[in-house]
Amino acid sequence: MVVYKRLMMAPKIDCPEDMYCASSASSVSGASRNNAAFRKWGLTILFICLSLTLVAEANSREDGKLNDHRVNDLSYGVALYEFFQQNYFQAMTEILVAQQQQSLVNHQDDSEILLGGIQLSYGMDLQAQMTFESILEKNQLSEDPPPSKKYLENRARAWFYLGKLAYQKNNTSLALNAFSHVDDHLTADLYDELAYLHEVSVFELAQENQEVNPLLTLSFSPSLSKSSIYRYYRDYNQAVNSVRLSNESWETSVNNLERLYKAINQSNNTDEFDELIELRDRVLTTLAYLYLREGKSEKAIYYFSKVRQGSTQEGSALVGYGWASINKGLDSSSNKKSKQMDYEAALTPWLKLQSRSMAESTTYEALLAVPFIYNASGLNAQALKAYDFALEKMANELDSLKQLTKDIENYQANSELSVMLGFDVSRQSNASLNGRWLDNGHWLDSDAVFFEPAIVKPNRLQQHLSELLAKKSMRSLFGQLNDIYWLESNLQTWRSRIDTFDFAIKERQLRGVELLSGVAQDEFTVRLNKAMARFDQLSTTLLESQRHDGSHLLLTEEEKTSEARIKSALLSLAKIEKVLLTGDINTSNNQLPSVDSLKAIRLQLKKMQKVLYWTVSSDQVSRVWKKQKLREAIVLALEETNARVAIFPTLVNKTTEQTFYRQRLDNERERIEIQSSDLAALREKVEVSIVAHLNKELLDRESRLLRYMGKARLSKAALLERQLETSLIIKPVINSSTKAKKNNQPDLLREQS
């Protein structure tokens, strides 16, 4: 990524070589602060570039409904949704799944470009290269039919990313070659980056004294936009490099840097505010050192004092500020008659520097510089105290470094490097480790003791190793470790999901076995046969109803009830008539109906019965038609049921096909295990490599600390020796009557006497 390149370049070109020593530590510590954010930054920039590219076209059009940026493939839209949320792994998976299912009909090239871009930032540069090359292969220019705009745009983007990839791999010639193929079909939002990358590539080639092939120039002229952050980086790099190459260009470089400082101040680029103010601090520090080198201390102080507190440049700015303050009196522009060094002026910045973290080498310098100032000012007692203070602080630091070395060894044994490094990785717990915890969790068990968390504080370690963490090789190792943790976590998630699939398959298989037993099948067949028998019965009834005397078979339920009631009434009537005719009961009782009235009732009932039959027979045709329709529907339903029952054995087979899925599942499970073990092996290698780097860095720091301690002791000894010599000269002169003179002696001698 370009930002990555920028971060790598910045310490290298921070300030002229003779000043580099003082500023390197803080610039590196700045990079270390950026270390954690490095990948994020890279990805964010890619995210911005790609998102702008992808959305640019959509935004350029407007319609009544403003709906032109809708994607034409849902799966591509889903990949974009994940991508825009920076879920890059998920986005890549979505694209791969869609490609496999061939569901990317309208966004094939777009998805490839997106995939290549994500691969590039996900550290899969080989894959990214292959992706971009395949796009270019597919997008071979042809005149017939003329290539579409989209087609040309994709081609330009693929060349651009290939060039960027080559630049990242430090293959500048190849990068320039790729950039020369980029034409003006490239989306405008990538112009700045292209112009910047092209310029720095040409510059780097020139630095290596290689001539740039004139054919490798850009086919069009993308100019850096005024507010682009790339412009500031370019200007800064150019100014610093030109002064580094030749001191004659000092004035031009300083003017350019001052102009750059003003431009950054006036910039309205709020999106990259943090990066801009960080760059501004760097510009200020460089400017100040340039002035200091030319003996213009006041100007240097002016710029040093503008560096923000807490910025990554603070340490080197404080060192420089101290020296500038000392030399202020010697300033060529100073009007003072007697030009002399003002040592005390450096005390304030350097005392402040002393209180900063011991992880920064500028702090060591301040620890030695403060007693030097006291000594130069004639305050020898303070100087000795300051040396003692420095030695004590350094001794403590030495102890802490040794402790850290020991802790790292312990961590190496525990394989819990991530904890020590304070990685913010939501890693699923390691299964084997958990197992051991559970099996041997008792605190007396040796294994439990073995897993006891160590005491080291990640922040402290990170502080100590800030310089190491800022190195490109280490950043790459930490990036790899982070990726491995994430991949392991991903595999762990799949492990549990596969268990769920396994459960589903088992359930389906159980159901299959149940069906295979035939019980369910027989039950369904018996029910179907019963239904068929009832249907046959109904068909017979329908046939009979179509006969002349069969209309009663077409009665509705209500009519059937009425007919039954009439018949029942007629029967009751017949019984009463019989009783009356036999004369068993006295009819003189007026409460019983007479024979005549019974006849009248019978007549009425018969009439009702006939009316009922007449209604049915008059509606017979319609009723028969409805019944036939119903019959046809039942025939269809029965046919369908028959068909379903017929495919029963097939269904059973299908269910038992779960064995096929089970086999796939087993295969995938095996793949997960293989990949997990590969990842574990790789993690171990990376961790061992990191530990080796850490150990070396700690040893380096120890050596450096010992050197500083040696210097402090030597200086202290020299100071004491000088005082001794002074005392030997002065002492014989001292007597009880020269009290006033005694008071004027250096503090230490006073104490000794």
Partner: protein, 200 residues
């Protein structure tokens, strides 16, 4: 004599200090020297490690590729196994422009049964505005006619609370059913419009 002794004491004291400093310094130098052997060994060790760095990088790239391929296959397997196409219903959500409506939440019901709901973060909303499509629900339904109802809540024109629902009746056949809940801005009405689009 007395004076002479007194004049010698400071000298002796300082000499002792100097000697002590030299001894201390030389011991620190000695530890420097003793650490040199270890240093060289570590350097060699580190160089070997650095030689392997390239191969580590390549191995990791290869593993990433493999894990991605595995992820792809597992996703496909999951879909085939848990959401076969004859019963699959997938509901997506997309947003167009989003000037007249800022989506806060959505609830989806199929046949009066709530199947999905989602509260949106700014990041997710931004991803939708930029053209992303969210897979809101993936589930199974029987063949036949179904009704989907989506209720959207958020901030409407003039930053007022806004709650709208849209419903759609669809027929599920043997192929996977994909429905897209679409929120559009209508410049004609200065209102958001909610619709359901059926994908084939």
């Amino acid at each position: 004599m007395y004076n002479c002794i007194f004049s010698v004491i400071p000298k002796l004291f300082t000499t002792a200090l100097v000697l002590l400093s030299i001894v201390l310094f030389s011991s620190s130098q000695a530890s420097d020297v003793s650490s040199d052997g270890l240093h060289n060994k570590l350097d060699d060790d580190l160089n070997n490690k650095l030689d392997n760095k390239q191969s580590l990088d390549l191995a990791l790239q290869d593993l990433k590729k493999q894990v991605l391929a595995l992820n792809r296959d597992l996703f496909i397997l999951e879909e085939e196994l848990m959401f076969p196409s004859n019963t699959q219903l997938a509901v997506f959500l997309s947003l167009d422009i989003g000037e007249f409506f800022k989506l806060d939440a959505v609830t989806v019901s199929v046949d009066k049964r709530e199947v999905a709901s989602h509260l949106y973060t700014d990041k997710q909303l931004d991803a939708l505005i930029r053209g992303g499509v969210q897979r809101l629900y993936l589930g199974n339904i029987k063949s036949g006619e179904h009704e989907i109802v989506a209720v959207f809540t958020g901030r409407g024109p003039n930053d007022r609370d806004y709650r709208r629902a849209t419903s759609f009746t669809f027929n599920k056949a043997s192929d996977a059913k994909k429905l897209e809940l679409l929120i559009e801005d209508s410049t004609r009405l200065y209102q958001p419009e909610f619709s359901v689009v059926e994908w084939n």
